[in-house]
Symmetry: C2
Subunit: 405 residues, 2 copies
């Protein structure tokens, strides 16, 4: 199930990047589970990772290897998270990146890795190792949909998109793929998201821009409040567009890149929520009138994570008392008398109480939509924050009760 | 549905307390929805309330009226929370306590109130007001089960228990009733819990003891992480046991009262989790080896609140990766290499990785039980904390999607 029809994927090659996917046998289903990206020499890279203190082996590798800000390859497997596997997990991850390095003729420390799937089962590393030859042989610049499919776990549709933008007089392109579905919560919000651009950007600028973009996109969504051991977002810039390189995220000329990247990341983040496990509704929690953005975020997250709000959305019940209760326990000092809430354009709470003249049918109409906008005005200040989430359905329970069986 | 057979209720009268329940018509079902307690003159009282900033009208009343530490009556309705109803809500609550005061001949400011049910609908106050006469006429010292039933909402069984104890040479008794089921999370953990003892205890001592007892019982359970606008726990001490009054919670002689009260509160708290909305499992999350109790609690709550852990319990899946991931995102600094986890007596994680020799069947056996003990040793210190929760089932979703329909 997913909220809304998945967008079609029609993305041109991004100069500087070749990739290929295959079924290596990690997934019992026999579908693609291994994805390799090869980058042109001098490709810059930056990453952000889960804040979970239990981190998967590939996250450990990436953190070490991104120190130089350069990457030549990325190998990703789905079907096994390679997390909580101790020193053996690290050996397995290194075996994969070492093989990739040898086959591509690049230093191993420039090969990054990512994994997604079940935690705590040893990766059957011989299978991806065996598949690596044919993967390298089939590297090409096209078929982003297949790439996006290869990293899916409980996702029901592949997530990829692209944006063009103009940077210092050159036409540039950025493509991105992501996978999500469960264990979605900042920070990071998705298990895996990878972005590829031909713009020329220094490693430092790329890192600054990535953090800025993530805060407004992947860190503004939540499915179930659980953060994963594997959450990884990486961005690569090949520089082949030939623009004079950006050297700082603060340069005014960074604007079009930041705008395109933000827009692309927001689109992928929204796709992840639309494909939230068992989701039947997309819920947009917009908090305004907060003293600062952190407080706006705190209230929006409390509402977006409330199982009672999420089940009410599934049941299409305009139970605004639950929304108001979540606002009240968010931990932000407030005065109920200044709080108002809209469902779509329908005022349901004014001054902390049921809005005058509110009729239940009007709330029900909004709740029956596939997208439910909840707008909360705290009446305390000028700051705002929007968080996306989905509802809690029977299917969420089914998917997660039976995930490994 | 509930985990385990509900205990039978066989509680003798507690000297100093009379009560009665009736169906006043607030609940459409026609079942009891109004409960009145009358206390002997000089009865001491103390209370703790929700930390939600949106509070129901009766909570506002109780906070004001408990300042003197004396109460003569308590009126409780179910079926309507009388929350988020603005000044009218407060007027309705006052109308009820004023009527009770007049009928019992006690000052209104010694009458407490509590409500539970749907938020944000005006209380049809004429109905309880009309029923008050017959309620006062039928006050008696028996039928605790009926009292416990009258405060139920989505609860599937009434929750009441008692304990005897000896205080300064006198035999004393304490009875308690509670209701819970959803919106259960510290602080407070239950919508409503009321305790009645004939022990003589000063208001100050009673207040100190109540806070101490709640921390280890009602604040150590979570169903869905939502705190309600109405959470209320009250304790009343009539003094009719005739002991020399306790004047401080720190007196050594307070021991037997604290022990009995703690034990009683823990029993009722566990009943609430057993009757958690849609619960099929009781999950006991025991964290030990923490640096302090606050950190132990933080980790235990993260695990107990994780939708992924709770759905895995429903699915009887020993998915220890999810438990470990929740430990990792709890926000407590830790070293995965010192973390171990037991499911019942079965070691599943040692040093942050799958326990040597662990076989899936052994984990499955524990997960198939009605009570699932999860023991987590952080390996950091000597402090511990146990939190009770239940699983996330299809029925949880059904109950909360359709609550008002």
């Amino acid at each position: 199930m997913a909220v809304g029809a998945p967008p079609s994927i029609d993305i041109p090659p991004v100069p500087g990047f070749r990739f290929a996917a295959t079924a290596s046998g990690i997934k019992a289903s026999g579908t693609d589970d291994l994805l390799l990206f090869a980058m042109t020499p001098g490709c810059h890279a930056a990453g952000v990772f889960t804040r979970n203190q239990i981190v998967a082996a590939p996250v450990v590798l990436c953190r070490e290897r991104l120190a130089g800000g350069v990457a030549r390859a990325l190998v990703v497997n789905s079907g096994n998270a390679n997390a909580a596997n101790g020193p053996e997990g690290l050996l397995d991850a290194r075996a994969m990146t070492s093989r990739v390095g040898a086959l591509l003729g690049v230093p191993e420390h420039l090969v990054l890795a990512a994994s997604t799937g079940v935690i705590g089962q040893r990766l059957p590393v011989d299978r991806p190792l065996k598949a690596m030859d044919r993967l390298v042989a089939s590297l090409a610049g096209e078929n982003w949909e297949r790439a996006a499919r290869a990293i899916m776990t409980t996702d029901t549709f592949p997530k990829a998109a692209s944006r063009g933008f103009r940077l210092r007089g050159r036409e540039c392109l950025m493509a991105g793929i992501a996978k999500g579905a469960g264990m979605i919560h900042p920070d990071m919000a998705t298990l895996l998201a990878f972005f590829f651009t031909d713009a020329a950007v220094s490693a430092a600028a790329l890192n600054g821009i990535l953090h800025q973009v993530m805060a407004g996109s992947f860190n503004a969504i939540t499915i179930d409040g659980d953060t994963s051991t594997n959450d990884t977002a990486l961005v690569f810039a090949s520089g082949l567009a030939g623009n004079v390189p950006l050297t700082s995220a603060d340069e005014p000329e960074a604007g079009p890149l930041i705008a395109a990247f933000s827009d692309l990341a927001a689109e992928l983040a929204e796709m992840i929520v639309r494909d939230g496990e068992g989701a039947t509704k997309l819920i947009r929690v917009m908090v305004e009138g907060a003293r600062d953005e952190a407080e706006a975020n705190q209230v929006a997250m409390a509402v977006a994570k409330s199982p009672l709000v999420k089940t009410a959305c599934f049941g299409q019940d305009p139970n605004w008392g639950r929304i108001l209760a979540a606002v009240g326990y968010a931990g932000v000092p407030l005065d109920p008398a200044t709080v108002s809430i809209h469902l779509g354009d329908v005022p349901i709470v004014v001054g902390g109480v049921r809005a005058p003249g509110y009729r239940e049918e009007r709330g029900e109409e909004v709740m029956s939509r596939e997208e439910i906008p909840i707008r909360i005005d705290l009446g305390l200040g000028q700051s705002r924050r929007t968080v996306l989430t989905c509802d809690f359905s029977h299917d969420y329970v089914s998917i997660n009760a039976d995930y490994r069986t």
